[in-house]
Amino acid sequence: MAKADLKHTAFVTVLAAVALLIAPSFLETYTLTILVVYGLLALSLGLIWGFGGILCFGQAAFYGLGAYTYAVAALNIGESTIPFFLGVLMPLLFAALLGAMMFYGRLSDVYLGVITLVVTLIFFKFMNATAGPEYVLGTARLGGFNGIPGFQTLNVPGDPDAYILGDAFYYFTAFVLLLVYVFVRWLIASPFGRVAVGIRENEQRIELMGYDARLRKTVLFAVGGGIAGLAGTLFASWAEIVTPGLFSLSQSAEIIIWCIVGGLGTLVGPVIGAMVLGYLKFVLGQQSVIDNTLILGLVLILFVVLLPRGIVPSLGSAFRSFQGAIRRRSRKTPRRRRRRQADV
């Protein structure tokens, strides 16, 4: 099993590396960079939702927190190495705290959704209300609705004047995405990850086996928060400005849509979903025939109703059932399974 996993991971990583390397001949690297960042963000939710069964309506909170942490730290410190790590660490710690509060309180389902949503809203409202001069962290004004511009973007560690920009920045983010992908695959294949999947499937059973589900969910949630924060950090460096819009509900909605469209229970699915829809959004921005929100909404409805497992798993199972037909083995409809996964 571990061997098959390894093979799978290696295969996907190499394929993705090749795709990311040749992509710049088709698209500008600044567009590709943001698509990769979106992919990373989708991966964070794909991990905790698809493999831990934790539906977080507020993944944007960690994304925004990562971006703001980086921006504030970069303004204060100047050199980007420490801010970069803080941008991952802060959301990770915050997610751990929030997760502990929720999971040790035995909240589930809808209530989990409400709390994460509400926490995101609090961030959104608070950040929007920080326009006054009294909201200063060190030398960084939080800036309210207008956000924080003009901070140091990513540089070669130790050399604040050697900016990582343009193509170099793209290759860096692509490398980060692959690295995180491999890390997450390893995590899922590890005993910890297997138990996490067990929790998604049946939390009570896992508890009755003697595992502490609360602790494991908290850890998984924190890892997801850290990855989202990493995406936020990279976004900040790409956009050169952070605004409260990062915490908005529509941002959270988009992450969920990416995962649904790409497919839950896989890691590649959400990443692909994010990239495809992210690109679609840019393309749609160049036309004014149909309202973009309308299209996004329609995509979400159609996927939930017609293709609830998302693109990648559907393709996968189409392939398997093709194999299955050859081997003349009958299987029960897999639809039931997905329903369980989504409802945990």
Binding site: V110, L121, K125, A253, N292, L296, I301, V304, A342
Partner: protein
């Protein structure tokens, strides 16, 4: 003294608004275990229906109290047939699909009405309490919320349909055991819930500048109120609306509207942490 009266009126008013904006969502959630995240957009459409009706010469009360609920109720029927009924029993999937619906409706409204703010004037003049002028329409809203709660109570406790509804709330298979088609019940429920959303949208339309994205400002509050209230429709909504209305207004007066909003949200987090099943999951169990 006058100021105290004004503040009390404002608190009652904000509780009433929470009741109005949550009622439709609560009915659908309480009866069907479906969370309709397009609820805010249903309200927005109720608002537009009212404005269009008023502008085409229909009496404002007729527009708010009749046209808006009817239009949105019918829309709800359509939505139930096309989307919701494929997803019964899948709470999270319905949330996602209705989220998609909400985006879709915002898009449609934008294409029809544009993002320009529109609105109508409230039909009731302001009057004074001592040295203070207050918005007369606030009283209309407080009365509307009271009437709505009373009507809900009357229907649920006094009619045959209400009995079936309460049965269904307790156990989903009760209706079919009693010989009713659950499909019909769900359809009727969703119609009523949507109509209530439309009504709320219609009643609030004269107070706010309406834009297609207006729904977003309501959904979060309605969602939080309903979930925190728990599964009982009337007691749940009333208790959580009272709590949140009180908290947010007190902080709004004492500090600022932002702090009021944040206080409401923080109160919700604390409440859910302490009572993970909502208020009526712990107290008033089994009430309506």
């Amino acid at each position: 003294m006058d100021l105290a009266t004004v503040i009390i009126v404002e608190i009652l008013y904000s509780i009433a608004v929470l009741v109005l904006i949550s009622a439709g969502l609560a009915v659908v959630f309480g009866m069907m275990r479906v969370i309709n995240l397009a609820h805010g957009e249903f309200m927005m459409i109720g608002g537009y229906a009212t404005i269009v009706a008023v502008n085409s010469g229909i009496n404002i009360y007729v527009s708010m109290l009749l046209v808006a609920p009817l239009v949105v109720g019918l829309l709800g029927l359509l939505v139930e047939r096309l989307i919701i009924r494929h997803l019964y029993g899948r709470l999270v999937d319905t949330m996602l699909a209705t989220w998609g619906l909400s985006l879709f409706l915002v898009g449609v409204a934008t294409m029809i009405f544009g993002n320009t703010t529109t609105g109508i004037s409230p039909p009731i003049a302001g009057f004074s309490i001592g040295a203070y002028q207050v918005n007369g329409y606030n009283f209309f809203i407080i009365v509307a919320a009271l009437v709505l709660l009373a009507a809900l109570y009357a229907v649920l406790s006094g009619t045959r349909a209400g009995l079936v509804a309460r049965g269904t709330m307790q156990r989903a298979d009760m209706a079919s055991a009693l010989g009713y088609n659950p499909n019909t019940i769900y359809m009727v429920t969703f119609f009523c819930g949507s109509a209530l959303s439309g009504l709320a949208g219609g009643i609030l339309a004269p107070l706010v500048g309406l834009v297609p994205s207006t729904g977003g400002t309501y959904i979060a509050k309605a969602f939080i109120t309903v979930i925190s209230g728990g599964s009982s429709i009337i007691v749940g909504v009333l208790s959580s609306a009272t709590l949140f209305g009180l908290v947010s207004q007190v902080f709004t007066f004492a500090v600022s509207p932002v702090v009021g909003d944040v206080a409401l949200l923080v109160a919700a987090v604390i409440l859910l942490r302490l009572l993970p099943q909502g208020i009526t999951g712990r107290f008033f169990k089994g009430r309506m």
